[in-house]
């Protein structure tokens, strides 16, 4: 397990480095920040001065060398837009995203496991059909559309929920509900499928031949085995949320990484883009390790 972890860390680092190089050079293709941050009628001298201050005048390769040099000292550079250290800007946004992802995934996991398992015990019966429709709609619906409809219904028509911001607990309800839909649909399908497989497995037959009662057969023998494929999907979905839910965060004015990312890209705030990529990469790496640990806890075959 330790060897695997080391190998994983190295290959992730290699990928991350390649990613940073790519993003660093490619992002500069989106245009000159000076054109964006200075007034339209700014003189060429003012532009020159702006570039000089932010080190944008040197050849890109020199800029990259300098960036790496700073990075080694954990200096992620300044945000052009906010005139603050880029890493601070990113971490601030990341905390919001982390909470959003954590709450959403917890709710999704609990709900999907319950609904999916119950559906699996009642294959083909009304509850199962209902769950299938639910999961189908969930997996098919565009999140921005649900968000808009949600705003129309709950904020505009009934006036129950605020449309954007993060002030109160009420502000969280719509974004979480919208983010809930798709992962719920996907995970529900996997739970149902793997539960059905596990219920038909030979070891369940053994348990019945031993005279084990129905409830332990389901909750002790089946559920733990059925969770193995589910964990992988949960990991994928959580990773997607950690990358920032751009659309939902934009619609609800939620100050998370996704919104920060799109704003920074459109505003050519290169340092923030790079810092955001690194922070989410680290977060996803840690989460993958947690997934591996969960896997190993559930399945002894992986431990050895």
């Amino acid at each position: 397990m330790n060897g695997m972890l080391g190998k994983r860390a190295i290959s992730s680092l290699v990928s991350l480095l390649a990613l940073i190089v790519l993003v660093f050079f490619l992002s500069r293709l989106t245009g000159d920040p000076a054109a964006l941050y200075l007034p339209v009628d700014a003189s060429e001298a003012m532009r020159e001065n702006f570039r000089e201050i932010h080190g944008l005048n040197d050849p890109v390769i020199v800029q990259f060398g300098r960036y790496l040099g700073d990075l080694v000292q954990l200096d992620f550079g300044e945000s052009l837009r906010k005139a603050r250290p880029a890493i601070d800007v990113v971490l601030e946004a990341f905390v919001w995203t982390l909470w959003l992802a954590l709450i959403t995934m917890t709710l999704v996991t609990v709900a999907a496991i319950i609904v999916g398992s119950v559906a699996a015990f009642h294959v083909g019966r009304p509850f199962d059909r209902f769950a299938s429709v639910l999961s189908l709609i969930g997996a098919s619906a565009p999140d921005f559309w649900i968000a808009i409809i949600g705003i129309v219904v709950f904020s505009v028509s009934f006036g129950w929920l605020p449309t954007s911001g993060t002030g109160t607990i009420w502000h969280w309800i719509l974004p979480i509900s919208v983010l809930f839909v798709r992962p719920f649909g996907l995970i529900l399908q996997v739970v149902r499928g793997s539960m059905i497989t596990a219920l038909g497995s030979p070891y369940v037959k053994t348990a019945r031949a031993k005279g084990v009662k129905n409830r332990p057969v389901i909750f002790v023998h089946t559920l733990r085995n059925a969770m193995l494929p589910v964990i992988t999907v949960i990991g994928d979905q959580a990773a997607a949320l950690l990358n920032g839910a751009v659309v939902v965060e934009t619609i609800f004015g939620f100050p998370g990484v996704g919104k920060l990312m799109i704003d920074s890209i459109l505003q050519r705030d290169f340092n923030v883009i790079l810092a955001a990529i690194m922070v989410t990469a680290v977060a996803i790496f840690i989460m993958n390790i947690l997934i591996d640990i969960a896997y190993a806890l559930l399945d002894p075959r992986i431990r050895t």
């Binding site: 070891y203 037959k205 053994t206 031949a209 031993k210 005279g211 733990r224």
Partner: protein, 540 residues
């Protein structure tokens, strides 16, 4: 009429499938008494396991349906009992073990807990259940039982897993133990150990043992009485001796005739020089030595059998010689040229001379190709063998040669039975007109009667075409009937080699002796002698 421990009367079970209703068993009756071992003998599709599933309430309904009959346990009809009542009997009064212990043990829980669970499911306290589990693990011979309680199924060998299953089934000293093909997936020496363990436990507890098997040898070794099943019907019942000597039903006779190991042994002639010379062949997988330097010769037209149990490295030889895997060191000279150093291109050309027939024909035939495509692929790859115009004619000829009909060329593999599929695989190998065919457990997945037919076919091809066979098998009786010479392998080494008569009549290596003693014979009298010999061997 209720004096039997367990009695099945007129039981019929059917399953609803795509092809309509399949009658799995049709009005079968049998009974089992205390302290008795009853074998249900049948090939695949005979319905031999169905009554056991019905007894244990393990038939999924739907698609299954019990249409008639009763199952009397101590005079009470189980089919009329509630699910809860039957649950209380399962594991406590009637227990069951299965063919594939790895699949049937829960992979994510320690085995100690799984054994204790039987007792806990029937209301025993945790401490008592665990004590009992420990005692049982010691009783069935798990080494270092206390530490092994916390281990998981994948950490045990196949034989140990079956012992664990037995411990689990016997936790509450049931009156009946149903064993469904309990030794089929095990090596012969392990099979003998597991069977004698079952027998000892039966003597200790006086339970009735229901042994479901396809193996006449198992019946001869272990059963007091046997029920022969075919096509969902009981065709004959009797003691193993009665059945062996005075079988009345044609099916039973056919089954007995098909049992290998009774034909004349072949006498190898000192023929032409070697076509394949293997020297000091080694293979290790990251520290584990699968082959530790194996050397042997093969002559043109000769049949050389390689026997050994799982992990002996016998299949590795085939894979290395055919370059499906790369050897760690050694040479394999084919007509003077070392196969192991050939480039892929050179090897590609040579391949037509050495062909292979795999264990499982279901998996060795591409399901997306028709039989014609499968066989003619040989000529697509090696176009110089046959001009395209002659393909249909030659495919028909080959199909005829392996006992299929030319119309079969248009069909796909899934439309054939297992034995027919293996014939197709043989036809494919013949299409290249090879000098050597390597058979890797080529008949071990087939039913006995089919197995005999395929062996007959291979023998015919050997005589007609002069093809040499490298015949890899774990089943000694088959080897005895078919091979000229035998290599016996154990843990990556050849422990003995010689003519088939020498190996079977005067084995020198202790391992060969043990292997032969562990093998089961379909004749109960021969088996009784062998059993005595085995016990003597164990005593030494």
């Amino acid at each position: 009429m209720t004096d039997h421990l367990l009695e099945v009367r007129d039981l019929s079970v059917q399953f609803h499938t795509a092809q309509g209703i399949v009658r799995a068993v049709n009005g079968i009756s049998w009974h089992l008494d205390r302290g008795e071992t009853l074998a249900i003998l049948g090939e695949s599709g005979s319905g031999k396991s169905v009554s056991a599933s019905a007894i244990m309430n393990l038939i999924d309904m739907p698609p299954g349906e019990i249409t008639s009959g009763e199952i009397l346990f101590e005079g009470r009809d189980l089919l009329k009992a509630s699910d809860e009542e039957r649950r209380r009997l399962n594991g406590k009064r009637i227990s069951m073990i299965f063919q594939d212990p790895l699949g049937h043990l829960n992979p994510v829980y320690p085995v100690g807990w799984q054994i204790a669970e039987t007792a806990m499911a029937h209301g025993r306290g945790k401490a008592e259940a665990y004590d009992r589990a420990l005692a049982l693990m010691e009783r069935v011979g798990i080494p270092d039982a206390r530490a092994s309680m916390g281990k998981y199924p994948h950490q045990f060998s196949g034989g140990q897993r079956q012992r664990l299953m037995i411990a689990m089934a016997l936790a509450l000293k049931p009156d009946i133990l149903i064993a469904d093909e309990p030794t089929t997936a095990l090596d012969v020496t392990v099979q003998a150990e597991v069977l004698s363990l079952l027998e000892e436990l039966q003597e200790e507890t006086g339970m009735g043992l229901l042994l479901i098997t396809h193996d006449l040898g198992v019946v001869a070794e272990a059963a007091d009485r046997a029920v022969v099943m075919e096509g969902g019907l009981v065709v004959e019942t009797g003691t193993p001796r009665e059945l062996y000597h005075n079988a009345t039903h044609p099916y039973t006779r056919k089954l007995l005739a098909a049992a290998p190991g009774k034909g004349a042994m072949r006498e190898p002639e000192d023929g032409p020089e070697a076509i394949l010379e293997v020297r000091d062949l080694k293979k290790d997988y990251g520290g584990f030595e699968a082959l530790k330097g194996v050397s042997f010769d093969m002559h043109a037209g000769e049949t050389l059998a390689v026997v050994g149990e799982s992990g002996s490295g016998k299949s590795t030889i085939a894979r290395l010689v055919l370059r499906l895997e790369e050897a760690s060191s050694g040479t394999a000279r084919w007509k003077g040229e070392d196969l192991l150093t050939k480039s892929p291109r050179q090897m590609g050309k040579l391949r037509r001379q050495l062909q292979m027939v795999f264990q499982d024909p279901t998996q060795s035939l591409n399901p997306h190709m028709s039989v014609f495509q499968i066989i003619s692929e040989a000529w697509v790859i090696h176009p110089d063998i046959l001009p395209k115009a002659r393909w249909p004619e030659r495919v028909a000829e080959l199909l005829d040669q392996v006992g299929l009909s030319p119309e079969h060329a248009k069909r796909y593999p899934h439309q054939f039975s297992g034995g027919q599929r293996q014939r197709i695989a043989i036809a494919r190998a013949l299409a290249l007109e090879p000098d050597l065919i390597i058979c890797d457990e080529a008949v071990s997945a087939l039913d006995v009667s089919i197995q005999a037919q395929v062996i007959d076919l291979l023998g015919k091809l050997r005589d007609e075409l002069g093809i040499a066979f490298l015949f890899i098998a774990h089943d000694l009786p088959v080897v005895r009937d078919f091979a000229d010479r035998v290599l016996v392998m154990q843990r990556g080494e050849i422990v003995e080699q010689g003519s088939v008569r020498q190996i079977f009549e005067q084995p020198c290596a202790p391992y060969t002796q043990r292997l032969l003693a562990a093998g089961l014979d379909s004749d109960p009298d021969v088996q009784a002698d062998r059993r005595a010999a085995r016990l003597a061997l164990a005593g030494n």
